[in-house]
Symmetry: C3
Subunit: 215 residues, 3 copies
C-alpha cells in the first residue's frame, strides 16, 4: 500500500516517538535513583509497552517479538536514549519544550499505528480507537507502574485525551471516504495540535470531586 | 444451550456487576484526585480487567476486543457509572451497603463466567477455578495497581476467597452430575453468601506474621 | 531430546527455583501485613509471573494454564513455600544465604527455560535472550508491583544483569556449535556465578544521576 519512501518516513517518525518515550522513562527512573539497567528497562517499557499490550489484546504476534527489525529498532533506540540522557542531561533540561514536541509526535504516531493494526484486523472503529489509545498512552501508564507512581496521564495535562480525539478525527475523515492516508494525517494533526495547545495554555480536565466514604 | 430469556437475564446480571465494579474504581480514583478521564479508565479497567487477563491467559480473543456488543456494554456501562458517581455522590455514601451487595453479585457472576469460559475450552476444573478467580478478583487488583495502592483484596475482608469457594462449589455440584446450571447457581450463592456474611460479621483471614529479615 | 532422568532432574531444579521465588514473595507480602490468601497469591505470581508474561508475549499457551502437571506443581509448590515461611520463619532468617543460593539457581533455570521456549519457536537469539530475562526476572517485578514497591531488581544488586549475561553465554556457546546442553550449562553457571559473586562482593550497577527538571 505504501511506497518505500513513505514507509521509510513513517519508520523514522515512529523512531522519533520511541526515543522521546524512552527518554521520558529513563529520566523519571533516574529521579527514582534506579540503576542503569533499571533505567534502560523502564525506558524500553515506556517505548514498547503500549504496542505490546495492544498486540496481546488483539491476539496478534507482539511486534518486537516477531520482527527482528522492530526488536533491534526499539532496543537500540532505547540505548541511544540512555546515551542522550547521560551525555546531554543538562541540555535536556533547557530543551524541555523540544522533548515535549517529540513526545507529542510519538503519541500521535503510536495512535495511528494502533488504529491501523486494529482496522487491518477488521475490527470496528470504536475498538480501533481504543487500540490507538492503548498504543499511544499505555506505555506511559506501564512506566508509572514500574516507577511506583500514580499514572501521570490520569492526573495531569491533556495527554490520553489528545490520543482519543485523534482517533475520533481518524474515524471522522474515514466516514467522509477520504481514504486511510488522509485519516492518518488528520489523526496526527489533531493529536499533536491538541497536545501542544493544552501544554501552551495549561488546559486540564476537571478533577473528579473526592467522595466522602468510610472505605 | 441457554434460552434467550435466560441469556438476557445473565447479561443483565453481568452488567450490574460491571457497573458496581466501575463505580468502585471511579470512587477510589476520585479519592486520589484523578481527572475525569483517568477516573473513567480506572473504572473501565476495574470492570473489564479481570476478564481481559483471563482471555489473554487462556489464549482466547479478548471478550471486549472481539465483540462490539461487549465493547459497547462495558464502555457505556462505565460512562453510566461515572454519571452515577457524579450525580449521586452523596446518596452513594448512604447506599454503601447496596453497593456492596451489587459488588458481590458482580464478583459471583464474573467467577461463573470465568469458570465457564475455561471449561468450554476443555480445561480441567482446577484451572477453571483459577480462571474464575482471575475474572472475579483481578479487576480490583489492576484497579489498585493503577491508583498505586496495595491491592485491597490481599489485605482486607474475604473477597477473593469468596470467589475461590464459589469455584469449589461449582466443582462440587458438577461432581454430583447435576449439570452446569445448578453448578453456576451453587457458585453464585456460595460466593454472594460468604461475601455478605464476611461483611456482616467482619470476618478476616489471618495476617501473615511479619518476618524479621535484613533485606 | 532429553532422556527421562535428565527431564526429572531439570524438573526438580525448576521446582527449587519456583519455591525459592515463592518464598521471596510470601516473605515480602508478610512484611506488608498481607493476609494468608494475599501472601499466597504474591508468592504464586513471583514464581509463575515471568513465565506467564513470556508465554503471552510469544503467543504460546500459558504453561500453567495448558498443563495440569505445571498447574499442580506451581500451586502446590507455593503452598509448600507458605508452610516453610510459617513454620520455619526464624530459621529462614538464619538461612538467608541458602535462600539466596536457591534463588540464584531459580533465576538461572528460568533464564534457560525462557531462552529454550523462544528458540524452539524459531526466534532469533536476541529475542530469545530477552525472553530468558523476562522469565527469570519479571516474576520479581510483578511481585514488587503487587506489594506496591519500586522493583528491587532495578535498584539493588546485580540480578537481571546476571540473567542477561547468562543469556549471552548461552548464545556464545551456541555460536561455537557445542549444542544446546552445553549452552544451557554455560548459561546456568554464568548466571549463578555472577549472582553469587555480586552478592559476596557487593557489586552494584551505577545509579543513573538524577536530572534536574521541572516536571
Amino acid at each position: 500500500m505504501n511506497v518505500p519512501a513513505e514507509e521509510t518516513f513513517l519508520y523514522i517518525v515512529e523512531m522519533i516517538g520511541a526515543v522521546a518515550a524512552a527518554i521520558s522513562g529513563i529520566r523519571l527512573a533516574a529521579l527514582k535513583r534506579f540503576d542503569w539497567f533499571g533505567a534502560y528497562i523502564v525506558g524500553l517499557v515506556t517505548a514498547l509497552g503500549g504496542g505490546t499490550l495492544r498486540d496481546m489484546m488483539l491476539g496478534n504476534p507482539v511486534f518486537w517479538v516477531s520482527s527482528m527489525k522492530m526488536f533491534l529498532s526499539y532496543f537500540i533506540g532505547t540505548a541511544l536514549s540512555m546515551a542522550i540522557v547521560i551525555v546531554f542531561s543538562a541540555a535536556l533540561v533547557r530543551r524541555e519544550k523540544a522533548l515535549l514536541v517529540f513526545d507529542a509526535i510519538g503519541l500521535a504516531m503510536f495512535t495511528v499505528i494502533g488504529i491501523e493494526k486494529a482496522t487491518v484486523d477488521g475490527r470496528p472503529m470504536g475498538i480501533a480507537i481504543a487500540m490507538g489509545l492503548v498504543t499511544g498512552a499505555f506505555g506511559g501508564v506501564l512506566r508509572d507502574i514500574l516507577i511506583n507512581e500514580e499514572p501521570l496521564i490520569f492526573r495531569k495535562d491533556i495527554y490520553a485525551m489528545a490520543s482519543l480525539l485523534g482517533g475520533v478525527a481518524y474515524w471522522g475523515v474515514g466516514v467522509m471516504g477520504w481514504g486511510p492516508e488522509l485519516s492518518a494525517l488528520a489523526c496526527m494533526l489533531t493529536c499533536i495540535g491538541i497536545r501542544m495547545l493544552a501544554l501552551k495554555y495549561g488546559w486540564h480536565l476537571p478533577i473528579l470531586r473526592p467522595v466522602d466514604n468510610n472505605k
